[in-house]
Amino acid sequence: MHRLFQFKGGVVLKEHKKDSTALPVQPAKLPPTLTLPLKQHIGVAAEPVVAVGDEVLKGQLIARAGDTLSAPLHAPSSGAVIAIADQPIPHPSGLSAPCIVIETDGEERWRPRQRSVFNFAELSAQELREIIRDAGIVGLGGAGFPAAVKLDPRGHEVELLILNGAECEPYITCDEMLLREHALEVLAGLLMMRHALNAQRCIIAVENNKPKAFRALHEEIQNTGANVELVEVPTIYPTGSEKQLIQVLTGKEVPTGGLPIDIGMVCHNVGTAYAVYRAVEFDEPLISRYVTVAGSVAHARNLKVLFGTPLGNLIEECGGNRRTLRRVIVGGPMMGTAMHSDTVPVVKTTNCVLVESVMHDVPLPSRDEYAMPCIRCGNCAHACPVNLLPQQLYWYARARDFDKIQDYNLFDCIECGCCDYVCPSQIPLVGYYRYAKSEIWNQDAEKRQADLARERHQFREFRLEREKKERAERHKKKRSAVSKAGGDDKKAAIEAAMARVRAKKAEQDSAPKNTDNLTPAQQRQVDEADRRRREENPATSPRDNKAENTQDRPQ
C-alpha cells in the first residue's frame, strides 16, 4: 500500500458525478463551422500557415508553433478556411482573439500519415518529444502547458512521473470516462511519457470516488505487467491540483515560484497521456477531446468533441435549452470560467461545460449578491490548501495595497476557491485575488515600459551626442579627402542583387513542409490555393508575410 500524506485544508464537495457517467462517450455532431483560436495554450500564439480560401484536410497543420513555448494547431475536420480573424474566445474577459475559422465539408477526409515509425521504443526521447510537439499536444487538465516542454527533463533527474487522474472538481467526469474506456491507451501513453522523461518511477493517482476507472486501470496494469503504481487518493478538493497531489503522494512541497521538476517530479494529466499515445501510435494530432456536458441539460454526458465546436451545439446536443441559459461555465464549478456567450468554441483545455438555466433545475448554489464585511472568522485560512491568510489578502486587495498583499504571498495562491466557498460573509475572494494579480502585472508592465522609455531616452541622448561628434568628424574629413561616391554606388547595386537571390532561395526553402507527402491531386489543390492567394492579396497573406520575415533569418 502506498503511504499517503495530507495537504492542509481543502473542502469536501458534493460530487455530482453520477449523472454524466451513465452514458457511454460518443462523438459530438460535426458543426458547420469550427472556430480555432490561435492561442489555446500557455505561451506564444500559433502562427497560421493557411490562408482564407484554402482547403484543409482533417489533421492538417493550419498554424505552426510560434516559439518553443507554443503549440501548433491542426484542422479538426476537413473543409475550407473561411476566415482568419478575431472571434470571441472562451476567456473570462469575453474578448475576441485571432482565430482560424473552418467551414466543414462533412467528409472528414484525413491528411495522409506522415510518419512510418510507430513503435515508440525505437524512438529517442528527443524524437518522441518532437512528435508530441508537432501533434500540438498541451496539458489537457486545464492549464494547457505545451506537453513536449513539460516532457523535457532539461538536465534534471526525474525521479517520479505522476499521472493525474484525480479529477477533484465536482461535475467533471471526462478523465474518469477516458480511464474507463481507454485505460490501456492511457497506460501506453504514460509509458511513452516515461520514456521521454527517463523517469524512474510512475504513479497513476485516481480519487477514491471512481472505482470503475480504478478497476479498469488496475486490470490493464496487471495484464501488461507494466511497472506502474496505481494509487487511490482521498476525495478532498483540491487533490487534483498539481502541487497538492504531489504533497499527498510524496509529502514533499514544490518550492514557491518553482516547478515540480525542481524536486525531480513531473505531473501530467491522463488525457494528455491518451493524446500522446494517439500521436505516437497513429500519427494523430490533437484535434478532439472528451468534454463533460453537465448541469441544466436533459442528458448530462461526455462527448468526444472536435476543437472549435461552439459550446451551444454541445448544450443542445445534450438536451439543454439555449434560450434559458443563465450561466455557462467552462471548467468545473470551483475554478471554471463563466462565459459571456455560448457561441465560444471548445478548445484544447475545455474539460467541462457546466450549464445553469434560469429554471434552476440544477442547483449551483451561488454566493449572495450582497457580500457582508469580513468578520475575520478564519474559515478561509482553515480551508486554504496553501496555508495562506485569505482574509488578509482580501483586506489588502480591497485597500489596493499591492506591496502588503505580496508580503502575504498572493502569488502562491492557486485560485482553488476553497476560501471563497466557506466564507460566511460570501465575499467573492478569488475575484479580488485575480483583480490584485492583474493589477500587479499591469503595474509591472507599466514599470517595464517606463524603464524601457527611460532607456530609450538615454540611448537617444547618447546617439545624438555621438552623431554630433561624427558629423564634426565627417566635416573635417570631407574637407581633406577625395570623394568615393562612385565606388559606393556600385557596391550598393551588387548588394541589392544578392539580396534578391537570397530572397528567392528562401521562398523555395520555406515551401510548406506539411505538403511534402501529398498526392498529386492534393498538390494541385495546394498550388491552386497558393496561386489564388498570391493573386488576391499578396501583402496580407500570412504565409507570405512569414516568408518575408524569414528572409533575413538564416536557418
Binding site: K243, I375, P424, V430
Partner: protein, 347 residues
Amino acid sequence: MTLQTPPPPHIHSGLRISHIMLQVIAALIPAIICYTWFFGWGLIINTLLAVLVALASEALMLKLRQRPLRPFLGDGSAVLTAMLLAFCIPPLAPWWITVLGVAFALIVGKHLYGGLGYNPFNPAMVGYVMLLISFPLEMTSWMPPFILEQLEIGFVDTLGMIFLNHFPYGLSIDALSSATPLDAMKTDLGLNKTVSEIMESNALFGDFAGTGWEWVGNWLLLGGVYLIYKRVISWHIPLAIIGTLFVIGSFFFLMDPDTYPSPLFHIFGGATILAAFFIATDPVSASTTPRGRIVYGIGIGIIIYVIRAWGGYPDAVAFAVLLMNMAAPTIDYYTQPRVYGHARGKD
C-alpha cells in the same frame, strides 16, 4: 439572453454570518436557563431588553450610515452582543443600566468604528467596561443563589424590581445583593484568611468555585464544546485561556495554597468560561491566525490571573479581552502560517 459572468468559484457552501451567530446564541441558551434557575428571572428580562435595544441601535446606526438594514439586522451579531452583555450585568440591575450599556456597545463600540467587521474591540466588553467604570455600585450588586426563590419572588416581581425599582416586602437591592464569589475571595484574602477558611465559612462557595456559578460554568462549557465540535469556533483561544489559567493557577496554588485559590476556582469562577468560549472568540476583534489565537489566549489568561490576584478589580475578563484586542493586529502580523512551498522556520 445575457449570461451571468461572476468570478469563480460558482458554488458556495451556503454558510452565512447569521448561521454562525445563531449557533453561538443556541450554545448560550442552556447556561441562561441554568442561570435563571439559580438567580431568578432577572437575566431573561435583561436579555430580552438588551436584544430590543441592540436591534434598535443597530437599525438607527445603519440608517445613519446608509447601509442596507436587512442583511445586517439579520446577521445576528447585534443580538449576540446584547446577550453576552446581558450575561455580564447583575440580574437585578435597573433597566437603564442595560439600555445604556447595550446602546453604548452598539453605537460606540461597533458602529463608530465602522460597524461589523471593523470594530477593533469586542463591543460587549466595551459596553461592560463603560458600565463598570460609570456605575460601579449597580454593576457589582450581585445576588446569592436561590435567594429569590426563597423569598418567592416571581417573574412579575422581578419586572417591577428592574423597571420600577419596586422591591417587595420592603426589601432593597442592598439587602438582596451580595458579593460574587470572586469578590468575597478577594475581600477575605485581604483580611488574611486562608483560602480553605474562606471557602468553608461562606455559603457562596460550592465544591470548587461558587455555588450556582459552577453550574452555569458547566453549561457554558458544554455550549462551548458544542461550538468547537461544530467548528463554529476554533479550539485555540479557549484552550489557551483555560490552559494558561490552569498552569499559572496551579503554580501559585502549589506554592501557597492558603493565599492562592485552586486553578479550578479560577477557571470556573467569575466569567472565565464565558470569556474563553463566547467573548474572546469573537472573530472580529480576536487574532485570526491559528498560532496568533494561541498567543492571544495565553495573553488573556495571564492578564486575567494578574488582575485577579494582584490588581484592583475582582474580575478582569473584560479588561483582559480589550487589552488583547489591541494587540491582535500585531500578533497576527508575527504569526503568519508557513505557506506551502516556503522554507520551514523562516517566519
